[in-house]
């Protein structure tokens, strides 16, 4: 593997020739990160030097290179490094800040946002980036029903329309909304794609290609020299099952205050590993530079950090994202099978029974090493809108959460009431008809998830549910999620501060409404109210009002138990001392994280 990584690095050097030469001088409209500047959240960071390679490990190969058709982090991990949007999260504070846009203005009525774009900025192949690329990405990709993208859901306005994106001039675009949409800036962080490279694959722009062609564009079969981005990195080599290598984009527009173009590292290598244990060993052996450690890694790595020169950040900061399991309420729907099981899964009382079997305290203590807390809502715990309680030292919003205490006896009682009893005396509960009920829980090869699932499996079996846990690879799991072909799936979702960013998950027609896709065609009253609350919460600039809407939204979702929330772990990270600025790792960004934000500010301090 090590030799393969070295080879990958060498290939990168040879592939530099495919890129342009970069800017002769720092562009006037460069994005400056105030590294080391007093009074900013960057003040304790160091100016870096360019050079070197940062190596991380990832589980699973990417499934393609197309950012807007990707549904899985194994792909977006790379595309998020290749593309940037008009706005972004501040790499350190997490606030919404300008990115490819150098600024914006919101009209007095709150309905028009005008973005000023950075002038003189180029794609990685040297072509200029203009308003046309923004319009192409928004109007022809994201809002194009022909394109299979997750990005569309979060653009939907409370009244069911989408913002109107228009070009004012080559470096000015406007988004006009029919109603107030407070999270507009969050939503407009979508990654910008190069029109000159991709327009021909969009059927509405080029009728010569069949509908859906864009969904098959920039696949793993695409020559890497075809990939063009505006982000800090460009994919320059891919060895299936071995590594993905990204090379600095010579035309990236991020700079430090001393005029050094970012990112500092020349090369980013992601080793593809079979599981997180191998990932951990690679970090431990010094083959990778950073590592998002798991609770069970701490005792092994702690004694070695001092001698090997790495640091371990152990914090009580809750991470973003959610962890859940979901009974597939559409199981067998497409095939016309599993009718009774599907009916059972659709019964909220059955899901309540399952919710009462989640031994969150044992999960936290035994799987998370005590470094975590319960999750009661679909909103990330660090979000100011989180309506949970008693997480990390006290109530956030007392009494707002809908909770299901761990009570196996209560769960068993509910199952009895539903007629889910052991009809044939074999020791396992059966469907009300008397047919056997078997449940397969799936997750991927992730020790934390395996830990959760084994606890779940044991508790379910203890009350007579014939449950078995099976590990499947991540991309298979994602396929089952999107294909509504799984039984019970345990997984997690990334999150953020703004609840509306989960609209693609919780809206009844959301592209990730995986627990019951059929809700899009057959929404019940609760589905309809959730859709409405998402719209209302997004439709007001009054944060208190939004909080109230989002509280009800969280309560309904928590009671509806589509995705049944489990626990969230606190933030822990490990990095070698020579990775400058890695100490700023946080739930917002890490050098190896999926948003790729902190990586461009890190450097090899041995150079």
């Amino acid at each position: 593997m090590k030799n393969a990584l070295i080879l990958a690095g060498l290939l990168v050097l040879t592939s530099l020739a495919v890129f342009g030469q970069g800017y002769p001088t720092q562009p006037a409209d460069a994005l400056i990160f105030p590294i080391g500047e007093a009074g900013t959240v960057y003040e304790d960071m160091q100016l870096g030097v360019r050079g070197g390679t940062i190596t991380v490990a990832n589980i699973e190969d990417p499934k393609g290179w197309n950012n807007h058709t990707a549904h899985e982090t194994s792909t977006t991990h790379f595309t998020n490094r290749m593309h940037r949007g008009l706005v972004n999260l501040d790499h350190i504070s997490g606030a919404i800040v300008p990115d490819f846009a150098k600024g914006w203005e919101i009209s007095d009525d709150g309905l028009v946002i005008t973005f000023s774009l950075r002038e003189g900025i180029k794609w990685s192949d040297g072509e200029p980036i203009t308003a046309d690329d923004v319009l192409f990405t928004y109007n022809d990709v994201i809002l194009n029903e022909d394109v299979d993208t997750n990005a569309r859901d979060s653009q939907l306005l409370p009244d069911g329309t989408y913002p109107l994106c228009e070009k004012v001039d080559d470096y000015t675009v406007t988004f006009t909304m029919s109603v107030i949409y407070r999270p507009a800036l969050n939503a407009l962080s979508f990654n910008i794609m190069p029109k000159h490279k991709l327009a021909d694959s969009v059927h509405k722009l080029n009728p010569a290609v069949p509908a859906g062609t864009f969904n098959e564009t920039w696949t793993l079969d695409t020559p890497l020299s075809e990939l063009v981005g505006n982000g800090p990195w460009i994919v320059s080599d891919y060895q299936p099952n071995v590594s993905v290598t990204m090379t600095r984009n010579p035309y990236y527009y991020g700079y430090d205050p001393s005029g050094t173009q970012l990112p500092y590292y020349d090369t980013y290598v992601s080793a593809i590993v079979t599981n997180q244990d191998v990932s951990m060993l690679k970090f431990r052996n010094g083959e990778t530079d950073v590592y998002l450690l798991r609770p069970e890694d701490i005792a092994i790595l702690l004694p070695e950090g001092a001698s090997k020169g790495f640091q371990i950040l152990i914090t009580d900061q809750p991470g973003y994202g959610t962890t859940w399991f979901m009974p597939n309420q559409d199981i067998g729907l497409a095939e016309g099978t599993d009718n009774e099981k599907r009916e059972l899964y659709r019964n909220v009382k059955f899901r309540e029974a399952l919710a009462h079997t989640i031994d969150k305290e044992t999960m936290i203590q035994n799987v998370l090493n005590g470094l975590g807390g319960p999750q009661w809502s679909p909103v990330s715990v660090p979000s100011p809108f989180y309506a949970g309680r008693d997480f990390y030292g006290g109530p956030i919003t007392e009494n707002n959460a809908i909770t299901f205490e761990y009570d196996p006896a209560k769960a068993a009682g509910i199952l009895d009431e539903l007629g889910v009893i052991d009809a044939d005396g074999d020791g396992w509960r059966d469907l009300p008809s008397g047919d056997p009920l078997t449940i397969e829980i799936n997750s991927n090869d992730n020790t934390v998830r395996i830990g959760y699932c084994l606890i779940l499996q044991d508790d379910w079996r203890a009350i007579g549910l014939n449950a078995t846990f099976q590990v499947v690879d991540f991309n298979t799991l994602v396929n089952r999620l999107f294909g509504a072909s799984g039984d019970v799936i345990q997984l997690g979702l990334t999150g953020g501060d703004e609840p509306n960013s989960g609209a693609n998950v919780y809206r009844s027609c959301g592209s990730l409404h995986a627990y019951r896709y059929s809700a899009c065609d057959e929404p019940d009253e609760i589905d309809a109210r959730i859709d409405e609350l998402l719209a209302l919460g997004a439709g007001t600039f009054d944060l208190d009002e939004a909080f109230d809407y989002y509280t009800e939204y969280q309560q309904l979702i928590s009671a509806q138990l589509g995705y049944i929330n489990m626990v969230v772990r606190s933030f822990q990270y490990a990095y070698y001392d020579y990775v400058g600025n890695a100490f700023k790792s946080s739930p917002i960004s890490t050098p190896g994280g999926n948003n790729g934000l902190l990586m461009e500010l890190c450097f090899d301090n041995r150079l």
């Binding site: 069970e296 005792a299 001698s307 090493n369």
Partner: protein, 226 residues
């Protein structure tokens, strides 16, 4: 007995000098070839692994791992082979029952891999102590002890012990606890001690307790690496 005999010889007659004390500059190859005190010899050997990989063929390493003239040479060659073969990765890919069988037979790498693969439940010191209590071999006790050392060492979110507690435990605990204390002491000293390699070599010479020696050996391994 052999080791204590060497200590007695060295201390009583001053005939046997510590090679590492003879010069200010640390020549690891000289130490590993000549040093008579095991802990010092092994600490030097552990720092020569990459050099051995660079300078010896696999066949030569296999030969040295068995016939090396000192424990440090054998260890350096053995760990070089281990690293060349992918370290722990091929072990953790094995079935747990196979690893366990090897661990019961005394294979230290298999024991480490077995504990690694089954560590998900070992998220509290007591869970590790329970595992130590039922470990079926010294190799497994050692491997569990290393994990327990992580809980006892500096920075641990649960179970951190003071230096005094660790010094007491390293002399009085069960074998697994002594390994844990030694592991944690090494970390503690790396982070907090001002001793240099000469001081540590003297400490090794002055102590006979096996696991305390192991703790100093770990610290010395680090100091030699600087």
């Amino acid at each position: 007995m052999k080791r204590n005999g060497l200590r007695a010889l060295g201390l009583a007659s001053c005939v046997v000098a510590l090679f590492s004390l003879l010069s200010v500059a640390v020549d690891l190859n000289t130490i590993v070839a000549n040093e008579l005190i095991d802990e010092i010899n092994l600490a030097a050997g552990l720092n020569l692994v990459d050099e051995y990989i660079a300078n010896y063929t696999v066949e030569e390493l296999e030969d040295l791992a068995v016939k090396g003239l000192t424990p440090g040479i054998k260890l350096a060659a053995d760990r070089a082979l281990f690293k060349l073969n992918g370290g722990l990765e091929p072990f953790i890919a094995m079935e747990d029952e196979d690893l366990l069988a090897k661990a019961i037979d005394g294979d230290m790498d298999a024991a480490e891999a077995y504990v690694f693969n089954t560590r998900v439940g070992l998220t509290k010191p007591q869970a590790v102590l329970d595992a130590i209590a039922t470990a079926e071999s010294v190799a497994l006790e050692y491997a569990y002890g290393k994990v327990l050392g992580g809980f006892y060492g500096p920075g641990s979110p649960v179970g951190e012990k003071t230096e005094a507690e660790l010094l007491e435990l390293v002399a009085s605990g069960s074998y697994g606890e002594r390994i844990a204390a030694a592991t944690a002491l090494t970390t503690y000293w790396i982070l907090n001690s001002d001793l240099d390699h000469v001081d540590v070599e003297r400490e090794i010479l002055a102590h006979t307790q096996t696991e305390l020696g192991l703790a100093y050996q770990g610290f010395l391994t680090y100091l030699y690496s600087l």
